[in-house]
C-alpha cells in the first residue's frame, strides 16, 4: 500500500465514522462536535487532492463560522436530548433506511459500471492538480472568468442577511 492510500483510508474512516456518530448521538451538541470532526477530515482529503485553498476555506468557513453559529443556536435554545433512536424507530424509519441503502447501492453500481469508461482513465491525479489548487490560481480565475457569479454571490449573501434578520426579530406590535 502506498502512503497516499494509507492517508486516504485514515481520513475516509474518520469522515465516515464521525458522520455516522453525528446522526446517532441524541445530544445535539455532540452531533455538532462530530460534524466539526467530519469537516476536519474533509479538509485533510482536500489537501490530498492538492486543493489547499478549498481546505483552508473549509476550516475557516465551515468548521469556524457556520458550526459556531449552529452551536450558538443549540445552546441558545437549550435543547434536551431526543429520546433514543431505538425507541422511536417505526416502520417508516426502517423504510427510509432501506431506501437510503438502495440509493447507495445504485450510486456505487453506477460508479463501478463505468469501469473501462472515462473513470478508468482517472487512475491518478492530473499533473495540473498541483497548480490549480493554489490561492493565486483560484483568485485569478475567480476574478476573471467567474467574476459575474462572484458578484451575484454578494447579492445572495445580502438577501440572506436581510432574510435572517426579518425571520429572527420580534414581531412588530
Amino acid at each position: 500500500m502506498s502512503s497516499e492510500l494509507i492517508v486516504f483510508l485514515i481520513l475516509a474512516a474518520v469522515g465516515v465514522l464521525s458522520g455516522i456518530l453525528m446522526i446517532t448521538r441524541p445530544n445535539p451538541v455532540n452531533s455538532a462536535l462530530f460534524l466539526i470532526l467530519n469537516f476536519m477530515a474533509l479538509a485533510g482529503l482536500y489537501i490530498t487532492l492538492h486543493a489547499q485553498f478549498v481546505a483552508i476555506i473549509q476550516i475557516l468557513v465551515y468548521a469556524g463560522a457556520i458550526m459556531v453559529l449552529v452551536l450558538f443556536v443549540i445552546m441558545l435554545l437549550n435543547l434536551e436530548d431526543e429520546e433514543p433512536l431505538r425507541e422511536q424507530m417505526s416502520k417508516r424509519h426502517y423504510g427510509s433506511l432501506l431506501v437510503a441503502l438502495l440509493a447507495l447501492v445504485l450510486i456505487v453500481q453506477v460508479i463501478g459500471w463505468n469501469s473501462g469508461g472515462t473513470l478508468e482513465t482517472m487512475r491518478e491525479q492530473s499533473p495540473h492538480a498541483l497548480r490549480i489548487g493554489t490561492v493565486e490560481h483560484i483568485g485569478s480565475v475567480l476574478f476573471t472568468e467567474h467574476v459575474y457569479p462572484f458578484e451575484l454571490t454578494s447579492i445572495l449573501l445580502l438577501a440572506a442577511i436581510v432574510g435572517a434578520i426579518v425571520m429572527a426579530k420580534k414581531r412588530f406590535p
Binding site: S2, E4, L5, F8, A12, G15, G19, M22, I23, L35, N38, F39, L45, Y46, L49, A51, F53, V54, I57, Q58, V61, Y62, A65, I66, L69, V70, V73, I74, L77, L79, E82, L85, M89, S96, L97, V99, A100, A103, L104, I107, V108, I111, G112, S115, L119, M122, Q125, S126, A129, I138, V141, P149, T153, L156, L157, I161, G163, A164, I165, M167
Partner: protein, 100 residues
C-alpha cells in the same frame, strides 16, 4: 496511487449518511446539520474531479456552494429561532401545518 473511484464512493457513503439522518432524526437543527453533511460530500466529488481532470471549475463550484451553504445556515437558523419562539419546540413532528 488512489483512483478516483475511492473518492466517489466515500462521497456517496457520506451523502447517504446525511440522507439517513434527515429521514430518521426529528430535531430540526440536526436535520439541518445533515444537510450540511450532504452539501460537503458533493463538494468532495467536485474537488476530486477537479484534481483528476486538471480543471479548476470544480473548485469554483465548491466556492459558490460554500457561499450558498453559509446563506442557508443563516436563514435556516433564523427560521429555527422563530419556530422555537412561537412553538417552544424544534421537533418537526410537532410542526406539521404544511404536512400532508
Amino acid at each position: 496511487m488512489v483512483p478516483i473511484h475511492y473518492y466517489l464512493i466515500l462521497s456517496a457513503v457520506m451523502f447517504i449518511t446525511g440522507v439517513v439522518g434527515v429521514l430518521t432524526r426529528r430535531n430540526a437543527i440536526i436535520i439541518f446539520m445533515c444537510i450540511e453533511l450532504m452539501l460537503n460530500s458533493v463538494n468532495l466529488t467536485f474537488v476530486a474531479f477537479s484534481a483528476y481532470l486538471g480543471n479548476e471549475t470544480g473548485q469554483m463550484f465548491v466556492f459558490f456552494i460554500m457561499a450558498v451553504a453559509a446563506a442557508e445556515a443563516a436563514v435556516g437558523l433564523a427560521i429555527v429561532i422563530a419556530l422555537f419562539r412561537n412553538r417552544q419546540t424544534v421537533n418537526i413532528n410537532d410542526v406539521n401545518i404544511l404536512r400532508w
